[in-house]
Amino acid sequence: MLTLSACATGVDSGGGDAGGGGSDCVAEGANAPRAGGDKYIVYMNALNIGNAWQEEAANLGSAVAKMAPYSDCVEVRTELTDDATPQGQISQLQSMVAAGADAVVMYALSPTALNSAIREACSQGVTFVSYDATVTEPCAYNVSYITTVPTGAEEPFMGFNSMTLLAELMGGTGDIFFSRGIVGTSTDNVHYLSAMAALQNYPDMNVLTEYEGMWSSPVTQTETAAALGSFPNVDGLWCGYGESGCVKALEAAGLQVPISGETSQYFRERLLDGWPGVSIGSPPAQGGIGMKVALAVLLEGPDGIPFDIEVPYQIVTAENVTVCVDNEYQEGCNVFEPGTVGDESTADIFNEMLPEATLGASQTGEPEAGAEAVPFTASYLQGFEQDESVRFVTREACPEGWTQATLPQNVEGCSQG
């Protein structure tokens, strides 16, 4: 357990280097920076796959670590994974550890393939946080929305809620397209299975065709346009990330049918125009939240900090879509001012766990002048601890006293007794 009061409390954090002994928030001895400098080295990782979400998540993580009170305690290094394969990411993680990383905040490509490299990192005293995508290695912290019950909903899982809301928009009847993400990833599988479970509740609905949108707007648009060529009378679309491609394909075909999509600015602007739809998906704020969890563990010590943290996220429809005035965070706002940001940007950079987020920080990775972060405490994070019943989804194991069971959302989870 460290005694890092300056950083941990955010009080009097401007101490800086204390005459060769390092910053007053940096420990000595066993908990000193691994590379031997006067700051902890923290790596912020995202995938470099031409995806706005990844860029925003990485930028938010970097920006938060550069804010006071953290900036005196840590040096953040942003590393993008260009070789978007588990092997490439293993190699990169090993390089980070060898370079003296004290913490790594990573978008893990595989829930299992990185485990041995993560284990090795943990054994060398490195704090590992996986955001959005989760890993099964027990020493890693998972910070993800994947099992969260969205704000205002009663059931967990994005897929389940989005399909239910789409069905309600369609009056419980009609034919839909299903645009998946990257088939073979655990995230896509949870979305898919839970969405299909929701569909079971609407026997008058039918999936006309499924295709792989690859979580890419252009791919989704191309595939949707092709599907429309075969099924021009579709009644609704369920679209994963890249849903702006679904909207654009429908617009090109002169159709306006209900869409369930993720969080892009383009889609939410259409909701502002009155397009029937539901916008719900992975918030890029998770990058910044993951960084704050890593810094809490690093600077405050791990005591009391849950390993499984659920990130809250919201459901946006034509009824509650609300502009963020001046593109700044206001409670309940969920779309930037129309025409001020790119189609793939998302106001879900804002999150109740990340009040430090700004549009500028998400675009540049730099905080606003004088911006201060609000560090997490263990008790605050305990309020976001994952429910045991969904633990199997992210850890492929159940807590003690729980056994594996299929949840009503058709996803493997845990039950007691």
């Binding site: 588990p86 092997q87 299992t112 073979g184 990833t185």
Partner: protein, 337 residues
């Protein structure tokens, strides 16, 4: 002039070129790495390289014959997920069975290319797509379990890290293979299949055997990959589709067939996996890495081509100069077997 001729002769050898490139990167890595290179770092690098070394070696064998094989990534995906699922309960038996699956795919490719006379690119591309889909059916999401004995066999230590031993074994097997009848004939098929056929060599049988051997190596690559990452993942093989050919290019083999060395390809594969390490310590990430890899491939091919043309011009000049005895120089455009 003498020195230029020597340099051109050295650079004309793809394996030497690949060794030089790898040496440069290794020196840069060892100098720039914080705290120097540890045994752990070197072993980790070699282990992660081993599946690519195996898969790219298989691709090289096919390329020697003048054919193409795009199925490596598909076989790696299928054998990887098989190792994590159906074969995981069989213990050690899982390993040869995974390799056998690769061999069967190779035979299937060989049958369609050699017997049915279908174009190799189309056939092996189709095989890649089919196997990629099959892998997803077998294991829809990453996971499964790899036999601990197999993990330890590939990742453990035996005086020196086993990764080093495996690389040496592959190199040794290559040196033996290239002097076998099949090895020599495989080169010949790539250089002039018709001439070889007229001299009585069963060209089709050679090609068939090479496809099967390549499939075997892909199967082994998938099994090794499963042991290294200790999990199954149906999408994990896709990166080998292009990386295997990049390794071949850096290794100096001629894509037209009949020239090159598996040793060069092995060095090319090691170079591809060390580049990210070097760029990391240089603080370079992102798209620059891919740009760098692409430029390296072009440079490797370009240097080889320039060195070869320089040698050819020299031979031409000697031939057209009267009363001078022509030297016995191979002008086949690349490395001799």
């Amino acid at each position: 002039m003498e020195r230029r001729g020597f340099v051109a002769r050295v650079l004309r050898n793809g394996t030497v070129r690949a060794a030089l490139v790898l040496a440069v990167f290794l020196i840069a890595w060892s100098v720039l790495q914080l705290g120097g290179l540890s045994v752990f770092l070197i072993n980790s690098w070699l282990l992660l390289s081993l599946p690519l070394v195996l898969a790219a070696s298989g691709v090289t064998l096919v390329i020697f014959t003048g054919e193409f094989d795009l199925s490596a990534a598909g076989v790696v995906a299928v054998t990887n997920v098989l190792m994590a699922t159906w074969l995981s309960e069989l213990g050690w038996l899982g390993l040869p069975l995974a390799v056998l699956v690769g061999a069967v795919v190779g035979l299937f490719n060989g049958f369609l290319v050699v017997v049915m006379r279908l174009p190799a690119i189309a056939v092996t591309l189709a095989t890649f797509i089919i196997l990629g889909g099959l892998a997803l059916v077998i294991l829809p999401t990453p996971g499964g379990r790899i036999d601990p004995g197999i993990i330890d066999f590939f990742t453990g230590q035996l005086v020196v890290p086993r990764s080093i031993i495996f690389l040496m074994v592959i190199a040794l097997l290559w040196l033996l293979y290239r002097n076998t009848r099949m090895g020599v004939h495989a080169y010949g098929v790539g250089q002039d299949a018709e001439a070889l056929r007229l001299s009585g060599v069963a060209v089709d049988r050679v090609k068939f055997g090479v496809f099967a051997l390549a499939g075997t190596l892909y199967g082994l690559a998938g099994a090794v990959l499963a042991a290294v990452v200790q999990t199954g993942d149906a999408t994990i093989g896709s990166s080998y589709l292009l990386a295997t050919f990049a390794a071949v290019a850096i290794g100096g083999a001629a894509f037209t067939g009949g020239s090159g060395s598996v040793l060069g390809t092995m060095l090319g594969a090691l170079t591809l996996t060390v580049i990210p390490k070097v760029l990391f310590v240089l603080g370079i990430s992102g798209w620059v890495q891919r740009v760098f890899e692409g430029m390296l491939i072009i440079a490797a091919v370009l240097v080889g081509a320039v060195a070869t043309q320089s040698e050819q011009r020299k031979v031409q000049a000697v031939k057209t100069t009267p009363k001078v005895e022509a030297p016995t120089v191979s002008v086949s455009g690349g490395e001799r077997p």
